[in-house]
């Protein structure tokens, strides 16, 4: 790398720190996919399945309603070709698939059993390829790019890589059992995902454009120590995506770096300036360990005019 390239690379990196001016990723303005989590039947916390094990993948969807979104979908899981970049694609025929042709607000999920070790061969990962739509009719193409939903306003194509168990990849989903969410210093408990804003019991905030502080204390058990890479052993780094259906978080991502001892992240959230009626708002906190492990927390509030 020559000096010009070196300096220009760093300058370019600093230049992209300005956020996304075209669309705010932390604001849910249409049907969105926010994450997927693998759960192994025999050991639900583990994120890396072994040959012959049964498992399921559940997806987290959201839309601006603040309620569980109604969507149609198709998904399939297969042994992935070992391409390091680009959109994942299947090496073999799908192991399992499922389709929801009529709109449903049930969380999309796909159960499957991994083939035996001989069939997996030198495969290192599976991939789940999925399409989610807010209406229309699903048309599954030869690959993810060509699958679509004529008649839908929003089409979301998605993939989720599942890394197979090995000495180098053993991994659990981030453990959020001890995680504590606070809103302006008060513990923020999980409520019903189908919040009724007509009810007096619903937690609420006014639509006054005021900034509130959300903090997420992840708890000591949230991350593991990574298997050694180039003789270096360090804890996982964690990426937290924070999103809301109303108002706006200050940033799309927070992070916990390997050297961080403080496992609490804080991010301001600004309430919407005005609303015509009491409206449910959903908040999503998706924690990733960059090794295929994913967990999430959701919270709901009513925002009053």
């Amino acid at each position: 790398m020559n000096r010009k390239l070196f300096i220009s690379t760093l300058v370019a990196l600093s230049a992209v720190a300005c956020g996304d001016p075209l669309k705010e990723g932390q604001r849910i303005e249409e049907l969105r996919v926010l994450g997927a989590q693998l759960s192994i039947d025999a050991e639900p916390g583990r994120a890396t399945p072994a040959a012959g094990e049964s498992a399921s993948v559940e997806w987290l969807l959201a839309d601006p309603s603040g309620l569980p979104p109604s969507a149609i979908w198709h998904m399939e899981v297969c042994v992935a070709e070992s391409n390091a970049f680009g959109i994942p694609f299947c090496r073999d025929e799908p192991l399992a698939s499922i389709e929801q042709a009529e709109p449903s607000d049930v969380a999309p999920a796909l159960a499957f059993t991994l083939p035996d070790a001989d069939t997996l061969g030198d495969a290192t990962k599976l991939t789940v390829l999925a399409i989610f739509c807010d209406g229309g009719t699903i048309e599954v193409g030869s690959d993810l790019d060509s699958s679509t939903c004529p008649g839908a306003e929003t089409v979301q194509r998605a993939s989720f890589d599942i890394f197979l168990l090995s000495d180098d990849t053993t991994n659990d989903n981030p453990n959020l059992d001890d995680a504590v969410l606070e809103l302006d210093g008060d513990v923020w408990e999980a409520g019903s995902p189908s919040l009724d804003c007509e009810s007096d019991d619903a937690p609420r905030l006014p639509a006054d454009g005021v900034e509130h502080l959300v903090s997420l204390a992840l708890g000591e058990g949230v991350r593991e120590t990574k298997p050694p890479v180039l003789d270096e052993v360090e804890p996982e780094s964690l990426q937290i995506s924070q999103l809301s259906t109303l108002g706006e978080f200050d940033s799309r991502f927070s992070g916990v770096n390997p050297e961080d001892s403080n496992l609490t992240v804080e991010v301001p959230w600004k309430a919407p300036g005005e609303l015509e009626s009491a409206t449910p708002a959903s908040f999503y906190f998706v924690v990733r360990d960059d090794r295929g492990g994913v967990s999430w927390l959701t919270r709901t509030l009513c925002i009053d005019p």
Partner: protein, 468 residues
């Protein structure tokens, strides 16, 4: 940029140095010793992961340095033999960290060349030589695998969507070579230049022999025909041969280059030229379909063809130069359809003019007009649930093109010449008419929205320069 983007910004630290000592042993032997090097470092600490690519988080820092000692001995043996021997060697090192990604290497860099020019007669000259490039580096790498050098739009994808690879290794780049070129004038106005170059590449364990030939023929005192044909070769990049993310069985890639042209002196100080060219590339190193093992293969071709017209005006007070190239540069990767090269420019016009008013005053202008760079359309995005980012769905590679690029730069200066030094004051105006040239496209995080990014606006620049 928001004020709280970074927690820590360490100011860039850099230095350069160079020194030279020349010793003339006698009229025939001269030794030149040079030492030079540089050091650069920069560090940023992100307060939050980057919005577009959360792999850019925590610390982003880099350091690069090299130091080199160079010795050159030039000798004249009698009236007919010249000798030039050069040796340059020194340490190199670099490191870069971007969040969890890291690379570092240290090594030694060595260039050597020995060259002899033998003037057998007024009609015949022979140049022979040998050179070698040796680099040995030990390093660690943890990051994305390298993409195809060109023609792969996925290089723009966020780091977070790319699987990491890691390795620690020692690499040896050893490329010795030898060459010979004959300059022969069978008659006064005809010059023949046959030559050959042979190289060995340790990385591919390959010998390559490239014959070349060029000629110039003066039809009249004012008209010269010229032409050439030759083979050229280039070994794969060292990282393309690394087993972890490359293919150790790659071979060098080759090019056949041809040209034919004419130069015409129209009047004193005014020359025009016309040259056509054609190049055919084969054995190009390209990525495998879908980026699967062995990642790189020698399965690409290329063709470049076009013509260049040039005119140069040079008088006491006027200097003008015009060059226009009409060309097409295409590549074929594997069995894919032919596509445009990433930097193909159908039209490339450059016009330079300056006028010397006398008394140290001068003014000039530089106008450029070129085709916009080819661009690959983005048709949508696929959400990657592992990174919470979207990967672009691309259309045909380089099937669209940015708008025409045009820019006028103006410059005026006053020069004061003193006995031992000179002082120049200048005013230059870059992009004088504030052209809004499109130099890129940015996309929303999910690739549903896009906008064009334009280059520098009008940019006046006032300066003073002193020269010893």
């Amino acid at each position: 940029m928001p004020e709280d983007t970074f927690d820590v910004v360490a100011a860039p630290v850099y230095y350069d140095y160079q020194g030279m000592l020349v010793h003339r042993f006698n009229q025939n032997h001269k030794l030149k010793l040079q030492a030079y090097g540089s050091y650069d470092t920069l560090k940023l600490v992100f307060s939050d992961p980057n919005e577009e690519d959360p792999a850019l988080r925590d610390t982003v820092e880099g350091e690069i340095q090299f130091h080199k000692f160079q010795a050159q001995l030039t000798s004249q043996f009698g009236a007919r033999v010249q000798q030039n021997i050069e040796l340059a060697a020194g340490p190199i090192s670099a490191s870069a960290t971007i969040g969890d990604l890291h690379q570092e290497f240290t090594g030694l860099d060595l260039h050597a060349r020995a060259e002899w020019g033998i003037f057998a007669s007024d009609q015949l000259r022979l140049d022979i030589g040998t050179d070698a490039y040796v680099q040995t580096v030990h390093g660690k790498y943890k990051g994305p695998p390298p993409p195809q050098e060109e023609g792969d739009p996925s290089v723009d994808q966020p780091l977070g969507t790319i699987d990491e690879v890691s390795l620690e290794d020692t690499l040896y780049i050893v490329r010795p070579g030898a060459y010979a070129e004959l300059s022969y004038r069978p008659i006064t106005n005809w010059l023949l230049l046959p030559g050959v170059r042979a190289d060995y590449d340790y990385g591919t364990r390959a010998w390559i022999v490239d014959p070349r030939f060029s000629t110039r023929y003066g039809i009249t005192d004012t008209t010269t025909l010229k032409g050439g044909v030759g083979m050229y070769s280039q070994p794969p990049e060292y990282y393309q041969l690394i087993d972890a993310f490359g293919n150790p069985d790659l071979e060098p890639y080759r090019a056949l280059q041809t040209s034919l042209g004419v130069e015409q002196v129209v009047a004193d100080g005014f020359e025009v030229g016309l040259e056509g060219f054609y190049k055919y590339l084969y054995n190009r190193v390209v990525g495998t379909a879908g980026g699967t093992p062995p990642y790189f293969i020698n399965d690409g071709e290329g063709r470049i063809y076009g013509a260049e017209v040039s005119a140069e005006l040079k008088t006491d007070s006027h200097f003008g130069y015009l060059a226009y190239t009409l060309s097409r540069s295409e590549r074929q990767d594997r069995d894919d359809p032919w596509r445009l090269f990433d930097y193909d420019q159908t039209h490339n016009l450059s016009l330079v003019y300056s006028y010397d008013f006398g008394s140290g005053w001068s003014a000039g202008a530089h106008f450029r007009l070129t085709s916009g760079d080819p661009e690959t359309p983005v048709l949508g995005g696929v959400y990657d649930a592992n990174s919470d980012l979207y990967r672009a769905i691309y259309g045909d590679v380089n099937s669209e093109r940015r708008p025409l690029f045009h820019q006028l730069d103006l410059r005026g200066e006053k020069n004061w010449a003193f006995e031992d030094w000179a002082l120049t004051a200048y005013l230059e105006i870059l992009n004088a008419y504030n052209a809004q040239n499109v130099e890129g496209t940015t996309y929303s995080f999910d690739y549903t929205k896009q906008e064009s990014a334009t280059g520098l606006p009008i940019f006046p620049n006032l300066g003073i320069r002193g020269e010893l």
